[in-house]
Every structure is written in structure tokens, then in C-alpha cells.
Symmetry: D2
Subunit: 278 residues, 4 copies
Amino acid sequence: MSQYRVLIDADDEKGLVYKVSTVFYNNDLNILSNSEFVDKDNNKFFMRSVVDGEIALDKLKQLIVEILPSNANVKVIEPKKKNIIIMVTKEMHALGDILIRHEADELEANILAVVSNYDELESLVGKFGIPFITISHIDLSRDEHESKVLECLAQFKDVDYIVLAKYMRILTPKFVEVYENKIINIHHSFLPAFIGSNPYKQAYDRGVKIIGATSHFVNNNLDEGPIIAQEVIRVDHAYSWRDMQRSGKDAEKVVLSHAIKLALEDRIFVFANKTVIF
Amino acid sequence: MSQYRVLIDADDEKGLVYKVSTVFYNNDLNILSNSEFVDKDNNKFFMRSVVDGEIALDKLKQLIVEILPSNANVKVIEPKKKNIIIMVTKEMHALGDILIRHEADELEANILAVVSNYDELESLVGKFGIPFITISHIDLSRDEHESKVLECLAQFKDVDYIVLAKYMRILTPKFVEVYENKIINIHHSFLPAFIGSNPYKQAYDRGVKIIGATSHFVNNNLDEGPIIAQEVIRVDHAYSWRDMQRSGKDAEKVVLSHAIKLALEDRIFVFANKTVIF
Amino acid sequence: MSQYRVLIDADDEKGLVYKVSTVFYNNDLNILSNSEFVDKDNNKFFMRSVVDGEIALDKLKQLIVEILPSNANVKVIEPKKKNIIIMVTKEMHALGDILIRHEADELEANILAVVSNYDELESLVGKFGIPFITISHIDLSRDEHESKVLECLAQFKDVDYIVLAKYMRILTPKFVEVYENKIINIHHSFLPAFIGSNPYKQAYDRGVKIIGATSHFVNNNLDEGPIIAQEVIRVDHAYSWRDMQRSGKDAEKVVLSHAIKLALEDRIFVFANKTVIF
Amino acid sequence: MSQYRVLIDADDEKGLVYKVSTVFYNNDLNILSNSEFVDKDNNKFFMRSVVDGEIALDKLKQLIVEILPSNANVKVIEPKKKNIIIMVTKEMHALGDILIRHEADELEANILAVVSNYDELESLVGKFGIPFITISHIDLSRDEHESKVLECLAQFKDVDYIVLAKYMRILTPKFVEVYENKIINIHHSFLPAFIGSNPYKQAYDRGVKIIGATSHFVNNNLDEGPIIAQEVIRVDHAYSWRDMQRSGKDAEKVVLSHAIKLALEDRIFVFANKTVIF
């Protein structure tokens, strides 16, 4: 008895649900959960099913691919721990939250390593028996530093996601291309407000009454990738921007851990720079 | 070209989605949206589809009934305005919100009448050209008063929902039986906390930091019917119970209007004293 | 026995609280509530006290002014209904919410008139016996139209606040100058995200997971005045921009009514394009 | 130059603010922040000021005590790390969040020890170099076990707070008396709903749409002490009670860490089984 997550996206047309459920029915698969959505603007169909039964993964995938139009993307995934690498700079809160969840066995993930341009967090990561790799950017150009990081990451096989847990350096298109839709970032602002540096200072100067944090995939334009999750926190005039920053950390870690969980459970589709989340 | 909402609940078994989607496919129906849920504790399957195509309502219903197990409940509904009656006592906020939404044509509903045991709100309702019926409870026993109300309601044909917009009298099982799962109430508390009278005073005395409101169907036990929606509002030590009551009104009207909207769009299943909402 | 709201802002220095409380104490005034805040960046002190006792308003003000440094701004206000004018275009929800609150006597305000560039809402306003004035902008330049509006408003004495309840025209600096910090607007977005027209469409295109609304005072730059209150609503991929717009209306009316309440209760200080709210 | 937190509660009467601010003024103290509240039901005055200047702590306290009525409680506290002991059973999330905040130096606290009736969390605590003490309850009566715990705690001097981070045993009145208003608990429910064991199962059975968590001081009646903070999370019909439990953990850790922060910053007054929080 195996369990599979079936993810399909395709140009919408009549009969897609019928066709997929025919495969499930004919192969005596039990549907544990089922979600569909049609993006009418783009005429795009999305479906995520969790099924169990007696069938091999490859066989199931083949049967679905055969019955669907050729434009369909079909993934059949067996639930198991995914491999992630975390990148950080100096701040502890987002990384710490992930490490504790990992230690509590709440995450469907192996943390292969934590990579940083500083060594401030080495001691924390070491406590949990996870490799910590420092790749300093000092005296290096952006390209040189990034090449060293890419080289380092390349030694890890089957990396499913790179998690930027407050990694404070901008990635170049070259880097992003290698890990397309695999890099999950947290931006310490309620995007698209306050794009760029020190959003808490920007928010303070603007006198907003709510601040937020956004987790998103990284694409070529800084802070403009598909949004996965957002969280907000109420503030008032008594908050300095440092207070906002402090409070914002709670939103940041919540929103990043939430995005990681969605990714590990294969719940996210990316299309047209947006996400469909089941 | 007609549009239908198809609502199905049944004991769960393999092939239900397949069978229903087969009917849709064979009859060339387009699925506009589709939601399913299996309550594993009760082995119960729920499905709501919105489809359009060239088929008569009765024909579609018959085809689905035929293909499903005999325990299945099937509803096929053509979207149109439903008939509602609103019951109130003296407070204006929840009623007012419904009237404005009705006036703005935001509700898929005809308001047949507003019924009250007082005449305080007659002037407001009159402005909107909606019949207002006062049935005073003064000098009447609970049974006598309720019989008069039931008699009054009975003159209206095809009442889909009775909305209790801060109707402050307890309904007897006799009343509730007549309109099973058709009476939508708002309770001015975050149920099941503070059941009973003056929940704001209770909340104040307990020193809570968040208050709430709950919309639910009414069943025989006061405040214990299936919950449709809940809303919360933060308070602090500076709130008197009157302040909580005042702030609570905003949660009350939001949560009631939300429940009405869900009901009018046929999005609510009731099972095991709980709701499944698509 | 009179009740007063005392509002003070001044350059911060030692002894301000002492000096003000000395006046209260020497005149046997009872402090009902008291809030202070120091904006350290701008070295600015803000204080709002509610007191009661046997003293004339002018006398109390004079005593406070005398004891404070000359840069202090002192207001002593007797709580009473303020005069507001509401400006609208065609949408009903924000106006409707205000009218119902007014009818329920929840607002410390007289609504002198509703002014619009269309007559769509005349019927609704008429129900409540409030003057509705249509000043069409058709065939007029922006300046001509605005001059007519200003002329119209000028006939109302002692206007405390102009409330823009989805008034969809941009006001010129000339207009804003006349009613500085007296114009309360609602922007249908979580400012400063999505400044400008059709923010719901912008939000939809960006794929955000939370939308919002902002009430603020209007200054010379569109959408950039001091923020009074903000509210958010969660959305997901299934929301079209029309759905966002529909849901957003609830946030809009809540946030506008909240801002009006704060203004009517003299709880807002404006400084450095931000608000301090007690 | 010293900084002090001045906390005063007293029966309300005219002139309290005047008297305290006179002391501040005469001693050339600078008010950094100032909060007051009068509980009119109980005629009780609360005040928290943060001041700095050149004065000894004892001197400042004496001056304030002298000028206030004899019923006033006056605390003058110099900000410094407080001593806390954490008690846990087996769950990691709340403890983990505190340990990370402690490691990140976000808490004004020394963690003297973590005490548990199981050793499951010993390894985690050990990583952070904090003493972990297991006091098994196996084969002991409640009283015997508690006596051993009390004995253990007694060896620590100057314990400011005992934090129950999911300590799953009920404390007797004897225990609570020793640490009155010093024990901070987290209850995994939105109190007062679902008092008692397995509140998530209760919430699931009731079909609620929002779940929550509550941090509170512990008094003699289980789950009935003064509430410090509450947090809520939206759920829907698709949540099993295990899902609610999992999601609830995020609310639990947020609400507990928030309560700890408020306590460490001396922001909480307890009166009449409620809290006043500045």
C-alpha cells in the first residue's frame, strides 16, 4: 500500500477531472484529499490529489500522462523527507525556529547544511549536529562570492529547496537560474510595500499601523518572486523602527516556517509569477 | 446555457468523484469550481461543484442520483435569489448591515419581512420599503408568543432562511423543528465561551484579551448549533464591558453577514452538529 | 460639573506632566483618563487627558497655556457632536455603514450633508433625512468642479471633518489647504502598497495573500497623508480581483468608521506626516 | 545616570499623578514613558513610569511612598535580567522558542534551570548549557512529587518567575501559594472555552472555526488565573484535532513568549483576577 501526491497543471479543458479520476478509479486508488482550481484569466487548470493504493509510482504517472493532453505537467511524488539547505547571515530567529521544528521532527526535511557569509550562527547550528559552512564575502566581488557559494552547494546532491532564512545578500540571476522555484526567501516587509533595504525604517517613517512579512520564491528581480505566504502585526505610534524590527521577527519566522511546510508537502504551484496553494 | 450548484453528501466509498465527474463529462458540462472533503471520523463524503452547460436541472439531478449509492443526498440548485426573513429585537447594527448590503444588491436574497417583538426598528426598516411586523411578547407566555410568530411566518411561502439579527428571545424546540438548519443566529460571544446571557459582562469579568462573535445554525440547545463563522476582536484592560459590547457589534455584524452570504451561495453542509464550508 | 478633553503637544522637556497635573490638582479636577507619548526622534511631547470638575473651559485652557512653554499647542474641548460632511461617488458600502451608525446614534456627529459628483446614492441618503447635494463634474475642468464643491461646502458653518467615503476624484492642493487635517479619506489598499488606481487589480496581479484598506488624512500628495488606521483581509489564489474588491469593501468600511470615531473623540494628533493616537 | 521602572497601584483619588510627577520633577528625573489606568469598578489606580536621572533606588522609592496614601503599593525596579525556571513535560515547541530567544539575547532573563517530570527534553536543553533536572512522578503521589519539585526549586535563590512551557501536571494550591503571581502558564485553548484536558479534541468536536491559546498566571483553580495574553488561529472543517493541535503550537509559543516578555519588562499588574498591562 503506497501513498502518492499527484500534481497536475494543464491548459484547462472539459474532462480533466473526469480523466484523472478515471485513472484513480480503474486502479482502485483511494482519494484521501483532492483540490482543484481553474485560473480563468490564464485558462489554466491545477489539481493536487493525495491517493493510496497498490500501484507503482512510475505506472501511475504513465497512466495519467497518457490520458491527459500533451501540455499537461504531471508529478507523482511519494511523501518522504526532502533535502534543504539553509542560508543565513547573522540573525538567529528564523534559523532557530527551523532548527527547533527540525529537532521536534515537525518538518518533512533533512537539513543538509547551513551556509553563511558570517560565522556568528556557527555555534547554534553546531549544537544540532548540522554542518555549518562559512563562505565569507570579504574581499570578494559579488560574482566571486556567489561562485564559491554555488560551488559549495553543488557538492550536495538532490537539493530540493534552498531556504534563505534572513540571508542578507542579493542573489544574481545566474544563481537563481540554477535553483528556479527552489529558493524560498523571507522579506521583512509586507510586499510589495517597502521593497528594498531596511523596510522597518521605511514603515516607521511612513507611520503605518500594520507591518508584515512575506515569504516568496526568488526570481531574477529582487523581492518580486511569487508570494507564498504573508503575515501581519499591528503596531502603533509608540513603536520605534527598532521595536517594529523586533516585533517583525515573529512574523518573519512564522511566515517562513509556513512557506517551508507548504513546499515540503508539495502544496505549491507556481504560475505567472503567482502561487496556487492547496 | 444554465449554471447549477451540485451538492452531494454520502457515505464515503471509492469512485464517488469518478462517478460524478463522469456525469459531468458525458453531458458536456463545464466545471467552474469543485470542492470535496472526506470526514474520515464519520466516513462521510462532501462535494460541491458549480457547472454550466445545456441540460435541465431535473435531468442532471436524476443522472447523478442514479449513479450514486442510495445513501447519497443530492441537491442541484439553480443560482437565484433566496427568500429570507429577519428577526430582531432592538439593536440596529446587524440588521442595518444586512439592509445596506441588500440595498447595494450584494446579497442573493429577497428580504420578505423583518419580524420583531418590539417596534424600535420599524422606522429603519420602513425606509427600505420592507414589511416590518411587530409581534409583542408582552402579556404572552413564551408558547403563546412563539405560536403567533410561527403563524405569521407561515404566511410566507418558500422561506429559505430565518436570520436572527440579534433577536434576543430563546426559541423553543417546536419552533426550531419547523425550520431545521434554516435558522441562522448570531451569538455575541466566541462560542463555546460565555454561553448564555450578557457574554460581554462575562468576558469582562474574566479579563479576556480577545472577544468574539459566532454565527451558527440554531438547534434545540441554545447556543449549541453548528458553527458557521467566527470573528474576534482584541481588547485590553481599559475596556469596560460596555466598550466590549460596542466593539463586539462590529464582529457581530461581520460574522452574521458572512454566514448569510455562505448560506445564500449554498456553501454550507451540516453534519454531526458541525459545518463543512466550501 | 463639566467634562473636558485636554490635548497638548509641545517640544519635550522635563516637567510637562508635572505642570499639567499641577493645574488639574490645584483646580480639583478629576482625571478620567490620561495618555502621554514622547516622540524621541522629534523631541515632541503629546498628551491627552479627560478630566471633569467645576471650571470654565476658557479658564482651564488659560491656566494650562500659562504654565507651559510658549511652543506648546493646547486644546481644551468639551465633548459634543461634531459637524461632518460626507463626500461619495457611487459606492454604497462605506456611506451605508456611516449612515447606520449615525442612525443608531453611535457617532458623536451631525451629518450636515452628503455631497457627490453623481446622484446614485441620493435615494439612500434621502431615506435618512440628510441633505444630498449633487455637483456633477461632467463638462467641467477639475478646477471648475472643485470650485463649485468648495463653494457648496463653504455655506456650511463649523465643519469639523470632511469624510471621503469612496469619493473617487483627486483633490487639488487648493482644496486640501482649506481643510488641512480635516479630510479623512479611505484608500482601498494597504498603503503604501498599490498607490493609485485600481489597487485590487494591482494586488491580484502581484498575487498577494493579504489585502487591506487604509484610512488617512489627505494632504497634497495623493495617498500620502498621515495614516490613521489600517485593516487587512486574507485572500488566496481563488480570488479574482473582483472578489478581492468585494471582500475589500468590508475592510474599507471598518477602517473608515474606525478613523471617524477616533477623530470625533479627539484622539488623533498629526505630526511629521504621521499620527499619534490615544 | 540610572533608569528605573516605577510601578504604583493604589485606591484611586485625586492628585495621584500630580504627586508622583512632583517627585519626578523635584528630583530632576526624565520621564521616558508613562502609563496610567483607573479601574473605575474597583476604584483602583495603576501607573507605570520609566524614568532616568541621578537618584538612588531606595531614595526614589521612599520619596514616592511618603507622598502617596498608605494603601499604595510602590515598586521601583532597576532593569536587569530576571531569574526564571522553566518547567516542561515532553513537548518541545514552547521550550524551544524560549531557548532560541534566550540564545539570541532577546530575553531580559537568566534561565536557572529547566525542570521536567520526563527526560525527553534533556538533550535539547543540554545543547544550550542550561541545567536540566528530571523529577519523575512515577510511583509518587501528587503531593510527594510536588514536594520534591518544591524542594528542588527552593535551592535556587531569587527566582522571579516559574514558566510552565507545556508542563502537563496540575499544581496544588500549596505549590501555587509559594509562587503567587510568579507562575506563568500556557493553556492550549482560548480560555475560558475548553477548560481541562485535550482542548483541541473538544474544539474539534464542537466544530469551531477559530482556535486559540492563552497565557496566564496560575492560581488555585486550574485554568482560572489572570489572563496575560491570548492568540487565535483560524481553522476549518478540514482540520482533524491533530491538525488543530499542530497549528495550535504556533499560537502557544507566541502567546507564552509574549507573556514572558511582558513579565520581564515589569508591565503586568494583577488585580481582581485580571491583569492590567502597560
